[in-house]
């Protein structure tokens, strides 16, 4: 059986989304399977046009901190979140969307980037993935 990484993306902060996508891509690149389970604030980032909308988790300063960090990232040639998400899918990564979050936050399937989402599911599906995983993270 292939090793697997399962990551809960709870935060919608830009820097934390970077962490989740970089780790997910890293796992796939090392020959593992990987799934990202988007819930709560994380799921907001899967809304159409929402990927880049997250603030910085620290020193956001009403967006000024985020703007400065993004500028630095561009200079350092850090890949965009969009590229990381596309690569994650291309390498066979699974994206799961929490249906309870959709219910309580009034998010409809058509609000989300449906083409990227492998499944809409609950905790059972997550546990089913996580129980066979060698790496599990909550971000």
């Amino acid at each position: 059986m292939t090793d697997k990484a399962t990551i809960i993306v709870h935060s919608g902060d830009m820097d934390k989304l970077y962490s989740a996508l970089i780790i997910g891509n890293g796992a796939l690149a090392m020959g593992m399977e990987a799934s990202l389970y988007f819930t709560f604030w994380g799921l907001q980032r899967l809304k159409k046009g929402g990927l880049e909308k997250g603030p910085l988790s620290k020193m956001n300063m009403l967006g000024l901190g985020k703007w400065m960090v993004k500028r630095k990232m561009k200079q350092a040639k850090v890949a965009s979140l969009e590229k990381l998400l596309k690569d994650f899918k291309e390498l066979g990564g699974k994206i799961l969307a929490c249906d309870m979050t959709m219910e309580i936050m009034g998010i409809k399937k058509e609000d989300l980037r449906d083409d990227l989402i492998s499944d809409y599911c609950g905790v059972g599906a997550y546990i089913n993935e996580a129980k066979d995983s060698t790496v599990t993270l909550f971000i």
């Binding site: 970089i22 891509n25 890293g26 796939l28 690149a29 090392m30 020959g31 593992m32 350092a76 040639k77 850090v78 890949a79 990381l84 690569d87 291309e90 390498l91």
Partner: protein
Amino acid sequence: MAVIKVDCTGQICPVPLVEMRKALRKAKEGDIVEVTGTHSSSKKEIPLAVKAMSLELIDVIEDKEGVWKIRIRNVRGK
């Protein structure tokens, strides 16, 4: 047998690793993937990934300017 060249010069984490994997997924059994880059951690991590996937690391060459070239043979077609 084909040689697939991947240029990751100037790219940083996790791009060289990801581009290597993308190329390997497209490669046929026996093909060689040649990754060129400047990110020093990737030079160490790509061989780790090659080992984890039980592929064949042909060689790792680095010049004086810090540009490295890693050649991988896709032996298992993973």
